[in-house]
Symmetry: C2
Subunit: 272 residues, 2 copies
């Protein structure tokens, strides 16, 4: 799976890319590997190029966020249409979804009458051959389309809307894709040993436990080493995964003690 985030606000460092992190965490917990995250600006050609590059890399599953709203700079759908060489057209199902939202606002006394202005119809103007995905939180529907063997899904950039459509429409697809697997991770903290001294011990442990991935993250200062060791594995069930992690931690722990480091074990908890 790949993630493509559209939005100038990410490229000027205005906001942190919490959408990418949220989706990556959620997909990983379901056993799906996120291979790449890309961020591009609100520009039709940039979006189209990024989508074409994803297809060129033969990635089969792309989730795009951002750029589905009513303003001029919401350009994701135009970018998809350009990448896949198809026309933009008002989608009847999408228009019904958008209309429904404004009718609800009229009923709630928030709006005088339903006016389907060009800016509102824009949210229902989709590349031909796409399928709208209901947005339980906001107005702009998500969009799903295929291109060859690839599935492309576009979600709004507002986090609550992205998360709701992701849970409702994307998670079932990811579960099907991943099958029944468990991803487990845990962290162990180590003091008073430098990362360069730890490196050969990690190598040894990973040779003995080849299904466990161990990554060191230096957290302290050079003079007072404090390192997070992150252990992760994907297995058929969480019992096997847990056993693997415990074994790897025990091995590394033993090697560490021989080298004078102190290891602070933490409880192993499953994600998702």
């Amino acid at each position: 799976m790949e993630i493509l985030c559209v939005g100038n606000e990410l490229l000027i460092g205005k906001i942190s890319n919490t959408n990418a992190q949220w989706m990556a965490k959620r997909a990983t917990a379901l056993g799906v590997i996120v291979k790449r995250i890309t961020v591009v600006s609100d520009d039709v050609l940039e979006i189209a190029n990024a989508i074409n590059e994803v297809l060129h890399r033969k990635s089969r599953f792309l989730v795009i966020t951002g750029g589905l709203g009513p303003t001029f700079d919401d350009k994701t759908l135009a970018g998809m249409a350009q990448a896949l060489n198809c026309k933009m057209k008002v989608n009847r199902k999408a228009l019904a979804l958008v209309k429904e939202k404004y009718e609800a606002l009229v009923n709630a006394g928030r709006l005088e009458k339903v006016e389907l202005t060009p800016y509102r119809v824009k949210m229902a103007t989709l590349p031909e051959g796409t399928q709208p995905l209901s947005n339980p939180v906001g107005t702009a529907p998500g969009v799903m389309m295929t291109s060859g063997e690839a599935l492309l899904i576009a979600l709004p950039g507002v986090p609550s809307e992205m998360e709701a459509i992701f849970e409702g429409s994307v998670v079932p697809l990811l579960k099907k894709k991943a099958g029944k697997v468990a991803f487990l991770e845990t962290s162990v903290y180590v003091d008073n040993i430098m990362e360069s001294s730890l490196a050969p011990l990690i190598d040894k442990t990973m040779r003995n436990c080849p299904q466990v991935y161990i990554k060191s993250h230096p957290k302290g200062e050079e003079r007072k080493p404090h390192i997070e060791l992150h252990f992760s594995t994907t297995a058929k069930d969480s019992r096997i995964a847990k056993n693997r992690l415990e074994q790897a931690i025990a091995q590394l722990s033993e090697l560490m003690e021989k080298n004078g480091g102190k290891i602070g074990l933490q409880k192993i908890e499953a994600i998702g």
Copy 2:
């Protein structure tokens, strides 16, 4: 400029990509446009492919973070060498920098003696034709190399180390690249008007103030619209930039009042 972040921890959603945000903000403040942010895993081929794609897009300036340390999964330099088809070789200048760090630890009584183990020499084993960049905070030096007209710079992933080398070695290059320009941004908050009703007003303002970019960010719920309007511009000096932003805000403010929205003006402050 493009940013490439290397690290599985970003693709499993373990951490937020604060490095990308920090660099994007810093480069933008200097007047440099960040065109793309890419995140790939700790895999030589993935890193090499991502670098080749940057070069293929004719981007002239790439900053890479992550993957420069002593452990097995620090693979950025091998990825650079593969992308640019050059050999890895112990760099004399880089080895001197690494050795200096361990000597300082010996002098501080933190280490018995300087042992240049293969894991430590790894941090000084660079693609041929590269130049090490001194790391004032940690051990692994940064790395700079050219490929045709493109400049590639690799920095460690530890934020304090990345920031220190960025300030010391990258900022002077970006300043030279951007020339004397000022990027200014400010936000204005709007209540009680829907984004779809705001869209035509933004369009009108941007037609009248074509050098100001206005982006709306919905923050509230559907029933209680609360929207951030972000105004930004890049100009020769901050006075011109400030004038432009003030003019655009005044225009939109006037249009808003006619449409029954309340606008909450904020002080305009320069970045950087």
